[in-house]
Symmetry: C2
Subunit: 408 residues, 2 copies
Amino acid sequence: MATDRRAGTGTNQEAVRRHNLGTLLRHVHRAEQVSRAELTSVMGLNRSTIAGLVGELESLGVIERGVPAGGRRGAGRPSAGVALTDQGPYVIAVDLGVDRVSVARIGLGGTVQQRNRAPIEGVAEAWQVGSSVATLIRGVVEDAPASAPLVGIGISVPGLIRRSDGLVRLAPNLEWHDVSFGSIVLAALGLDVPISLANDADLGALAEHERGVGVGVDDLIYVSGNVGVGAGVISAGRRLEGAGGYAGEVGHLRFNPAGKPCHCGNRGCWETEVGAHAIAAAIRCPEDKVPQLGEVLDSFTEPTKELRVIGGHLGSGLASIVNAFNPQMVVLGGYFRALYTLVGAEVNRGLAERALPAPLESVTLSLPGLADDSVLFGAAEIAFEPLFVDPVAALGTALVDVRSRLAG
Amino acid sequence: MATDRRAGTGTNQEAVRRHNLGTLLRHVHRAEQVSRAELTSVMGLNRSTIAGLVGELESLGVIERGVPAGGRRGAGRPSAGVALTDQGPYVIAVDLGVDRVSVARIGLGGTVQQRNRAPIEGVAEAWQVGSSVATLIRGVVEDAPASAPLVGIGISVPGLIRRSDGLVRLAPNLEWHDVSFGSIVLAALGLDVPISLANDADLGALAEHERGVGVGVDDLIYVSGNVGVGAGVISAGRRLEGAGGYAGEVGHLRFNPAGKPCHCGNRGCWETEVGAHAIAAAIRCPEDKVPQLGEVLDSFTEPTKELRVIGGHLGSGLASIVNAFNPQMVVLGGYFRALYTLVGAEVNRGLAERALPAPLESVTLSLPGLADDSVLFGAAEIAFEPLFVDPVAALGTALVDVRSRLAG
DNA sequence: GCCTTTCGTTCATCCGAACAACCAAATCCC
DNA sequence: GGGATTTGGTTGTTCGGATGAACGAAAGGC
């Protein structure tokens, strides 16, 4: 079972049921459409046990019988499909970007049921952004079935989030310090639901691991190029968080001690070479378009000499990451996606030059499989998480008829 | 239960028993002397369940009733102690150092029952080292009780070890490439027992986490200064291995692109500034004493100017590690222990200058709690590991009467 | 159209954790 | 010092839930 941070605990029998129920639901969530036969083989449990678990989840209204999913071809009775219900649980995913905020209502299976977005004008106060987010949330729950339970809200923030309580320690672009953004959003909504915050790169990694290019890859790193540079690390299939939750801050790795000054107070951080401002300067992109650096880069058909150099720096810095974490896959998110499309050769070369042979041979660089929605899906995943740890408890505390509650 | 790499599995009832039996034994192993009452509270199981588990382990000959361990003071019947038996299972731990190899017979609880060491002369062939290790092993099992089962052999290697099969991909000091050292040792012994190999820094981290300064610290990094520089990472209480098992290779982090050439083919790796050869050059230590750099540094009473600079570099590099992994504790092993004792102030300053405030505030630098034996104890831990995953199975396959088998 | 294969369903079984009752061994307190 | 109290080991029972066998259902293969 999923030993969380607290290890050394014994397993009692309720925990077994919780765990099995949760992992079964997790499998359905991942595959969206599974057969019971697949579940028995994947989970290593008996047919009748699976039947019991499926029955319980059916009575909870989470799943229903699906079409006899044509997974296997051959003789034998086809296995009954397990499908997600329309009125099933959903979450609210919030992606706080640099210049815009995206909100989506996402159901089990990762289906976006409704989405909405709004720009963020310049540097905004937390309460302003919070009320904007609240408005967007009201929008996306409008058409939600009244009986469908809201499991929680997941918020991606481009900054350092304290693991213990979700406090935003630092969000450089937003100029936030120690902001309890979760409480702000809940206050603006007038609701009390489970709310989780996490770093954008961490969520990108999670989403790409769950439903992107990294499915089946248990050691992957999502390197996010936003205005800042950060990384989310999945190791052995779980998120690498670190003691405070700040793991993966690779933007300030020492890159060139004789380099440019960085806003962190040092000189020659990696970010000063491959950060958005550095790239913008190299391609003479006006400052106000920096938040849309990805699109700006997309408009290039040929890489410039400056971009090639930056590509090499990107690869060279990735080499440090590959050496340190030994991932099987590195997903290049944010504007790195566009950059890699342009100067992939230089990135690969920079990586190959500096990485050690052993970790190098098992790593591949990839583009995100979820395009620009990685982070949003990641936010949905952390919000769903309690449901997979204990479905019965999570559904018990979930909120029904959210629309009318929000109206009041 | 301890989900290994394979996630998504259901829990059946045998697994529950295995897990509970294993974690109970792990607790006894960690504490050496626990009361049953402590076990009930730590493991969250019922008194009678603990009694059943303890009974089973007693009948396996692993533990026995101990003195009524005086943990709690106050009213009430004192809880019976659970102690380890003399004839209980043991492992062989091997620490392959730069210039010497240490071998120990270690029992549950981490008690060194017998130990032995031999020098390694210059660059040695793997088979030579293998037969030397085999001889040392024969030595340390000499006085082992005939009925005590040998669970396995754990070997620490200063190099890159492939996780899947324990192949030594690269051991720079020994000049080994792709050496199946485990098979070599087993062949030299004429035995077939479970054998595990791992990187020395990884094992240092494990040992300091289990029984050193890092007890209770779930996110720690052991930075090992041997001839090369490497790190072992414990995150959320488990070893960070990476896809191939090479995670933590921080010696070749990019430190100063204009720096000295490194044996890895690049320029300015961190190792070129804080590696043994760099330090030896700075203090004019003769080349042949480099393997004993720790003792050489211990003989200093005052730090030289050169050492202060190196201390700063050490701290500066640690900052990258702290940013990337966000550990709660960094343990400075190998000659870094002596170096930190000399120039701790400079190390701290270098770290504080370059690390981000958030990860910095929760990290502390420490000296190893197990002195020079961290790695050796780590080797014991990985050898014991199967015993805590499934005690019954591990004892079933364990080897009894090893001495006479080795004689034949 | 029958055999084979695979799977859902049902029921009995079994394993092991939990619970309750009882007894044992210490401290506390008058 | 002796009962009250508190804590914990022991024992027998209960109960939850995974398992296994038996049977029927739904497909493909010939």
